[in-house]
Subunit: 176 residues, 2 copies
């Protein structure tokens, strides 16, 4: 499974591509940051993010886009920009028929470090180890995007089983 992780933001949108499967070694296929100037107009920043995400989708052809689930209670000052950047990323993927998966920050931290309350340094260290990199990816947004992709690869089997069970339950309910 090849996953494009996106850590959304208007100023820095982290992107990272990881390939692998649960229980198998992971491989990093690419990592980077889509940046837009803080003094540009909001509309043109969104257009630049769209172009950046399109480029990563063209280049890496991921099967899934994993995005951070944004909560309105976190970081009230930046949350609007985060929601807007994530909307653009989800739009780009959905337009191509690529499924979008959302993971909360604590799910991501728990997946790669074992603790939902791990700090940025710990996440960066584990991403470096799991992907056998020479150094933690910089900036932190890029490392977070890789962590999101890893989280999705590891959680997807469990999520799929849950969805199948729910679908089965719904079918049973209808035929009962």
């Amino acid at each position: 499974m090849r996953v494009l992780g996106v850590d959304p933001g208007l100023t820095r949108c982290g992107v990272g591509v990881v390939e692998g499967a649960a229980g198998r070694p992971l491989t990093m296929r690419g990592v980077g940051v889509v940046r837009t100037p803080a003094d540009a107009e909001l509309g043109s920043r969104l257009v630049a993010i769209e172009a950046g995400i399109e480029h990563w989708l063209d280049e890496h052809r991921p099967e899934v886009l994993a995005v951070e689930r944004v909560f309105s209670q976190h970081n009230v000052r930046t949350v609007m920009g985060t929601a807007q950047a994530s909307a653009v990323a989800m739009l780009c993927a959905s337009r191509r028929g690529i499924p979008v998966a959302l993971h909360t920050p604590s799910e991501v931290k728990a997946a790669v470090t074992g603790s939902g309350r791990a700090d940025k340094a710990q996440v960066g260290a584990m991403v470096t180890r799991l992907l056998r990199l020479d150094a933690p990816p910089k900036p932190a947004d890029a490392a977070d995007a890789l962590a999101l992709a890893i989280c999705h690869i590891w959680r997807a089997p469990a999520q799929n089983r849950l969805q199948q069970a729910q679908a089965l339950h719904a079918r049973k309910g209808r035929t009962a």
Copy 2:
């Protein structure tokens, strides 16, 4: 000046086109709502909103898109969807080179009713009167979109003068 007003939302995105100039009678060119099913996946809802906004841009060729400025402190439960829907609308306009203007809810209310704290019914009544309609546009999101467009038409001259004054001041600062 022809303005497409957008009252952003995932479930109901109000859209309204108004033509006119400050101090001249206003004309409604169209009003409606882009709806997406609440049980659909977020990505496909954003794709549907994009298609809806594109349709309104194709149909009415507005010179400006006026969108409600979203605040994270208002309505915490729905604010994320509002931010995401508004991002898609701004993206669609900016991609075509159409300028995007943001107005706060209280600016819009003050523009059409004289009070920044007017309620929905008062806004609907004034929109009906200003556009010489037979009845208030339904749902309220559609009326709000028209109010946004009216607000922009009336505020734009003042905003332009302010921007020109700021630009002049900046130029003077550089040459001083």
